[in-house]
Symmetry: D3
Amino acid sequence: MSELTHFNEQGRAKMVDVSDKAVTTRTAIATSSIRVNAAIHVQITDGTNKKGDVFAVAQVAAIMAAKNTASLIPMCHPIPLTGVNVHFDWHINEADNLYEIHIQAEVKTKGVTGVEMEALTAASAAALTIYDMCKAAGKEMVIGPTMLMKKTGGKNGDFERTTE
Amino acid sequence: MSELTHFNEQGRAKMVDVSDKAVTTRTAIATSSIRVNAAIHVQITDGTNKKGDVFAVAQVAAIMAAKNTASLIPMCHPIPLTGVNVHFDWHINEADNLYEIHIQAEVKTKGVTGVEMEALTAASAAALTIYDMCKAAGKEMVIGPTMLMKKTGGKNGDFERTTE
Amino acid sequence: MSELTHFNEQGRAKMVDVSDKAVTTRTAIATSSIRVNAAIHVQITDGTNKKGDVFAVAQVAAIMAAKNTASLIPMCHPIPLTGVNVHFDWHINEADNLYEIHIQAEVKTKGVTGVEMEALTAASAAALTIYDMCKAAGKEMVIGPTMLMKKTGGKNGDFERTTE
Amino acid sequence: MSELTHFNEQGRAKMVDVSDKAVTTRTAIATSSIRVNAAIHVQITDGTNKKGDVFAVAQVAAIMAAKNTASLIPMCHPIPLTGVNVHFDWHINEADNLYEIHIQAEVKTKGVTGVEMEALTAASAAALTIYDMCKAAGKEMVIGPTMLMKKTGGKNGDFERTTE
Amino acid sequence: MSELTHFNEQGRAKMVDVSDKAVTTRTAIATSSIRVNAAIHVQITDGTNKKGDVFAVAQVAAIMAAKNTASLIPMCHPIPLTGVNVHFDWHINEADNLYEIHIQAEVKTKGVTGVEMEALTAASAAALTIYDMCKAAGKEMVIGPTMLMKKTGGKNGDFERTTE
Amino acid sequence: MSELTHFNEQGRAKMVDVSDKAVTTRTAIATSSIRVNAAIHVQITDGTNKKGDVFAVAQVAAIMAAKNTASLIPMCHPIPLTGVNVHFDWHINEADNLYEIHIQAEVKTKGVTGVEMEALTAASAAALTIYDMCKAAGKEMVIGPTMLMKKTGGKNGDFERTTE
């Protein structure tokens, strides 16, 4: 005799059905950061890092990662992005020996799902790339916090982070 | 007449030559974390998230991301990993409404470069996957800090983070 | 003098033009199976496989493979999937020493081509992943038959397998 | 107070550590098959399939899939392959209206893990590609059984399937 | 005190916003070429290349590369292609010992951006694949020129190369 | 009765066996070029291209493409690269309205196969990326010739192009 047990109903994974969601313009902005030491700060701003122009490479990495999000995040729906933009800002307090790069990634699409994951993935990839290019000068760098700042489009309403 | 300018020497990117580095056993441990709300904590521990078993999916995502690191991080050397292991722990303080998942990724190889980036990428991918699966119940989740905890192997000596 | 020969008309490959096909909701269901030995059956159901929860990993592999179908199958058109669902059932007959896992993959899209290949690829990836995780306990496992069970949407009409 | 629970020890996934396994020459042979109808048999042998030369495309797909195995199978270790070879044979019995393509994939490496998964993945990709190219002429095609026929190299000893 | 500098406005990369562009049918035709020696010409036309049928493999490589363009070209928008077709022609002048393969790649989509990059990438991948399969018989092969021949669709008007 | 025909021996593709080749240090240098118009020359040198710093992005694209070669070129063996370096030079003759970017890609590995394909793929990806970023200012750009300049390592002897 045959014994049948259904597993999917017991918490296993699925990529949920979004066939009936409307195609709308959707945007998301995520931020991350990476705290570096003074020597790394000099390397980046002077362009003396031996692997190259750190922000230029990190920006390309972020954009390519945004396009690759659905391959990285298993249950994430694939959506063709229509725009990606990544910014870097230094937050520096020399008295406290604080050298921090703030990363902002903005992603846009016209599609049936939001692009929060694409923005978060872009910001994370930028931070990881900065770490990789600078790690010869100090492995103690700290990445994050990484979070969604804003999201528009879609029927669930917009999101804007109120306090950081 | 022809005008020649060399650009590579001006801070542009390269994947640095590691041909002469020795093949040794190398390990790295990285951590990340993600702070969620009480409802998401219940979803994960009760197995009621509609996308599936959150930790199971995040763990697979982390391992696959570790193997995919050199495609994600532009100047990172490709190395065939020999082992990847990912742990999740809950840090909970109900009085403060604090529900935080700690993620630890450990990566191992026998190769010419370290696996710090693979461990950091694995931990980041796990955090992003948890965010993706739980975001319907609260987009205010915060990822990180993400950092290297320990590294062994290679001539540059070992690394161990002293204070977190 | 110049000699011109056209090769494409002689049976070489092309990704056929589907620009004029209508965007409709399309679904496909494919099945595969894998026959394992009694020890592997115990490993999976008891959760003692040393590589992890076999069905959880196989399900993630199937969903990621479905999204990756157009990279794996050369002449297959890329389409953004809107949903993927994978089920596992045990078919057991202890008297005959038969332990078989039935795999069903259901894929959905709104697009110009059907998703038969995505469903078949998902089911195949699930079976291959189960093989990989269990092969230390017996390499004699047999995968398949793998086949399309049902398909809806598109102007060529629906398909439903009549007899298995 | 903080509550700690370890999840990895509870059946979650890991890519097991193979750092201490020896580098040896390893081979694996896997087979699959696909049963087609008479019209598809004519299309393939006459080179009249509108998507191109079916076996030529399937062979390329198989070889590329073999190289891509560790991206498809989550817990599979990445290994640089040193050779891949794929054969097709027709098994035909017109009296029974049986037209079956037998697929054999042979994979070779010098590495620390076996290449069973690469051979099985190659054979599966070949079968899926044949299905894709011929499905306009009949979606009832059946793929498989797919299985490992032979394996050499590694300390666990060789494997050879005794009866099919 | 904190120091803020905006970098993106200083020439750094972004994937420009195409959210407001109209979905239209778009086509592009690109050409490349590869000059080979007499021995390679014989190998290809006689089917005696030890790696296989050169044009068959190059054609598959071209089609798969076209689908993969947005992963290869960092600022290129991802678009789901609806058709890809690749042709090869021999241009031979034995008196001058000239054996040149002309490659033409035609790509089609319905989307918001053109497919010039997909056509150019397909033609380039075909040329590179021919080089790879034939390089054992002469590494002096020369690829190119590679260029766009024609483009239709989109509000910027059509393009047709006037003189080569 | 059954009819068996072997196809592989008839010119079909295989990834040839290199298991017995020696691991040695191998290098390859390839060049490509792209001819642009005067306006594009200004955009690139002034940093006013709206998609970003053209050479910075092209350099990252080249390095990532080099690492991805075995996924792009079907019969190419996967090898872990140990170094990649890309240079750009302007060759300008204003009298003739000639603005040409020369691209040189140098790749290094310790492995069983040469890295000619990786160098050629890197140079091609750089040229394609420049085309993509500048095409809004003129689609008549011409890429190439693309060719191998030098190769060292491996038992087949070194190669150096004598006359360009």
